[in-house]
């Protein structure tokens, strides 16, 4: 358990719903769920979830903190928005799922080798270097995400696609050497830095108390 996680447990004790409302994006909507089940039934990946959204909302209200935050479920969301469109109470379910995933990540509770979480990290790290995604490097990183052998296999399998993309000018092999950046890279970094400051301030407001 991370220190932050221990601190959060200390602060919110038995009231996990309050913790979610304060710390998870759109978390204040969780109490509005009337348990009709339309979101769960509408989720195209629903059968791969250990706990569908409706159940997660109930678990939050029941204070099942560990089960929710270390769950694989919210990481399965593909942002298709079926649930948001159909929810009779207009809960921003997709956003809550991403909010829960983000919060779990912050607390260090993401299940090990969760592929969505791994990919998200790869994507973010790639993006931060040049202010744009280097698709060639991201693609290769993804191929080798699960080990060298599997990476070579995938690369060979996708060879034809890669060649075609190069031929049609959709992929530049030279991007492997560093790759090009956005026009104003330092400006981009400032934007990100500012956003991080704002986010940190928001987190501090609801987060663990000093010395807790």
């Amino acid at each position: 358990m991370s220190d932050l996680n221990t601190a959060m447990v200390e602060r919110y004790r038995t009231n996990f719903l309050k913790e979610v409302e304060a710390n998870v994006e759109e978390g204040e909507w969780v109490k509005m769920c009337m348990q009709c089940g339309v979101c769960s039934g509408s989720c195209p990946l629903g059968k791969f979830w250990a706990h569908p959204p409706q159940e997660i909302f109930m678990m939050i209200r029941a204070g099942k903190r560990e089960e929710v935050l270390s769950s694989d479920s919210m990481w399965m969301c593909t942002s298709c928005y079926n649930c948001i469109v159909r929810c009779p109470r207009e809960l921003p379910i997709t956003h809550i799922m991403h909010g829960l995933a983000t919060y779990a990540k912050r607390l260090g509770l993401v299940p090990q080798n969760q592929p969505t979480a791994k990919f998200a990290q790869l994507f973010w790290d790639n993006l931060m270097k040049k202010g744009r995604v280097n698709e060639l490097k991201l693609g290769l990183a993804l191929y080798f995400m699960n080990g060298f052998g599997e990476g070579v296999k995938t690369a060979l399998k996708k060879q034809k696609l890669g060649m075609n993309m190069m031929k049609t000018g959709r992929m530049n092999p030279m991007e492997i050497l560093g790759g090009h950046a956005v026009k104003d890279l330092s400006g981009f970094q400032k934007v990100i830095q500012k956003a991080q400051e704002l986010e940190d301030a928001r987190i501090a407001q609801h987060g663990a108390r000093q010395g807790a």
């Binding site: 009337m34 348990q35 089940g37 979101c39 769960s40 039934g41 059968k47 569908p52 207009e90």
Partner: protein, 427 residues
Amino acid sequence: MTEVVATNETILVVGGGISGMTAALEAAETGKQVVLVEKRPYLGGRVSQLYKYFPKLCFPTCGLEINQRRAKTNPNLRVLTMAEVTGLKGEKGNYTATVRISPRYVNGNCTACGECEKAVSSEFDDEYNYGLGKRKGAYLPYRMAHPAQYVLDPRLIGTPEAEQAKAACKYDAIDLDMREESVDFPCGAVIWATGWQPYDAAKIQPYGYDRFPNVITSVEFERLADPQGPTGGKLVRPSDGKEAKRVAFIQCAGSRDRNHLLHCSRICCMASLKQCTYVADAWGTDADVSVYYIDLRAIDRFEDFYAKVRGIEQVKFIKSKPASIVADKEGNPVVHGVDTEGYNRYADTFDLVVLAVGMAPSVDRASFPVDIVLNREGFIEADEANGGVFAAGCASDALDVNRAVQHATGAALRAIQAVHGAAGVEG
């Protein structure tokens, strides 16, 4: 030309359903002059299209018959059918109403003998059966219609069939020269009893009402169950006439949904429980009924009825609002969702799915001929600003028949007080 004798002490009632009839009769029986305006060719409204009432499972024809007799014998009541209020000017105690009357092409000589119906052949969708069946171009809207007068469909006018109908009539009751007319008359108070309409189920896209013939609405199912209905009371499904033994009821179809109707329509839970008994009565142990619900709202004394239906072995209750309906190769609707008691994923196949559609107000904001205060659901608020216009029944809220009749009686009293106030009478 239609003439309406009225004064500023006359009460105008708009809508001749159970609420409008009640309000009009209650006011007329106190001695007030009442003009009742009804859009359809007959009185009774949506109650006339019900097979049975909940919770007693008695027949609405019984109460309608009593009200029809009260209407026939009361000299203070003037009924205008096929008529709509197009204008209302003035203020409490002094209104002028404009009413547009569509031609029936049949006058008061009609004895409802039915010879004109035999003489014509063209058929049209039967509005009384929500389009589930056909009727002739010369028709009595339904068996118990009041006034008991035939109607000629305007689409027949100008065709040889209209002449054939006229020639077949022995009582000189068919008048093909009738024209639409507009009449103005004074009134002191208005009771607005325009009722409700079933929410347009096609708007609930995942349920496929517009795509699957075996997904129907609760009002249509009511017609299927009625021995006077399009199937003679046999519960068969629309696509192929197969017996509908496995039936699903989906609650809150449009109600309690911010994408559709904001409010709980109040009647749908009880209506579906009632319709469960139709299926169980029709097929006995072969019946297989599932009710999908968020929560069942069988309030106060209805709890007993809920317990009774809960006791029927062939009826299952599934706590879940289904996510979607698809059709399999045989045209059977398959209901998909996840239940709330265990979070189990289901895909259940049925012969017929009935959507318990919600109650939407009949008249939209823009169509009111007079300034009126509506709530956010579109029902009429009891507000001083409405002057001498009072809502009765489902124009004011989603109500069952019992509550609509109570509300209409209250509206009659309000209207009487308004015309008394205007005339300077105590009371």
